[in-house]
Amino acid sequence: MMPFTGFSQEITEIDGDGIAVLSRNSNDTTYVINFWATWCSPCVKEIDFFEEVHSRLHDSKVKVILVSLDFPNQVERRLIPFLEDKKITAQVMLMTDLDYNSWIERVDKSWSGAIPATLIFNRERRVFLEQELTRDELFENVNQILD
């Protein structure tokens, strides 16, 4: 855990094993896991939509997790100011395992490693989207998994 001031939540660190387990969680929750970074312009364009999914649906067992792929040495300088500026309240995790090859396929076999990428799943349904999403596309995909 990395506590810091001026921002209402903590950024949880996650490693390759952690994301592999998280990507296979099987409970009554629907997970919306977005892989992004502050320097990735298409990611930044869609991040408000994920925040909106979080604010609308977190009471309905939908958990949004924003997994940041910013370099760990840029957390203070870039990640935290960005989250503060955007007033992000969805959970943010920081990927600390930089041997990407060791965990990318454990999230989804089809993932080439490009971001943004989004995994939406529950114990019944699963979709992995290696692309930028419009607001409508995101909500449509979440609804398909919830159905």
């Binding site: 370099f71 090859n101 398909q144 159905d147």
Partner: protein, 199 residues
């Protein structure tokens, strides 16, 4: 508002059909692209080399920047051994304004690229190879005048810090070719910037 959101469940959503691209063992695809020095560079120009380190990269991506020096070092280390670097910028400059041909020329000059830096103007070459991100490496091996894909993926296992690298995937793959072996692993994956293409 809520009603609108929840009645779209039946709406069709489309996934961009992903080109599977090339795999290790496949024949490389020929290209002829404009270099930052205004000449045209073709894969066939390298037919007297043992191979080519083809790097899809770009100007602004932080991963491309993090690897820039290492890509230069790759060329310095391997060009003399018959494996020169050829860099290709696949990004659409309208979507990614830092990737105009002029910006590419400026960067290549500033960093004194010892290798060609080509513009994939029509974006056909990166699609044919199946590159999806920058940087994305395709190591080509010259087999009797025909280039084949020997390795696809990452340079090493630490983009942030070159001094903390423990696995040098590309080094190992070139080493395997030099010793007459097949690279293993022949593919690796890495996080990178999406290639910016017109929708």
């Amino acid at each position: 508002m809520k009603k609108v959101l929840f009645t779209t469940a039946l709406a069709l959503f489309t996934l961009t059909a992903l080109n599977a691209g090339l795999k290790p063992g496949d024949k490389a695809i020929a290209f002829s692209l404009k270099n930052v020095d205004e000449t045209t560079v073709s894969l066939s120009d390298y037919s007297d080399q043992k191979g080519v380190i083809l790097v899809f990269t770009c100007n602004p991506c932080p991963f491309a920047k993090a690897y820039e020096q290492r890509i230069i070092q790759m060329d310095q280390k391997y060009a003399s051994q018959g494996y020169p670097v050829v860099a290709i910028n696949p990004n659409d400059a309208e979507i990614s304004p830092e990737d105009t041909f002029k910006s590419m020329q400026a960067l290549a000059k500033e960093k004194e690229y010892p290798f060609p830096y080509l513009k994939d103007e029509t974006q056909e070459i990166y699609k044919a190879y199946g590159a999806t991100r920058t940087p994305h490496i395709f190591l080509l091996e010259n087999k009797g005048g025909k280039f084949k894909i020997a390795y696809i993926g990452a340079i090493d296992d630490n983009a942030m810090d070159a001094s903390a690298v423990t696995q040098r995937y590309l080094d190992a793959a070139i080493g395997a070719l030099i010793s007459g072996d097949t690279p293993s692993p022949s593919t690796t994956k890495a996080i990178g910037c999406t290639i910016k293409a017109k929708g």
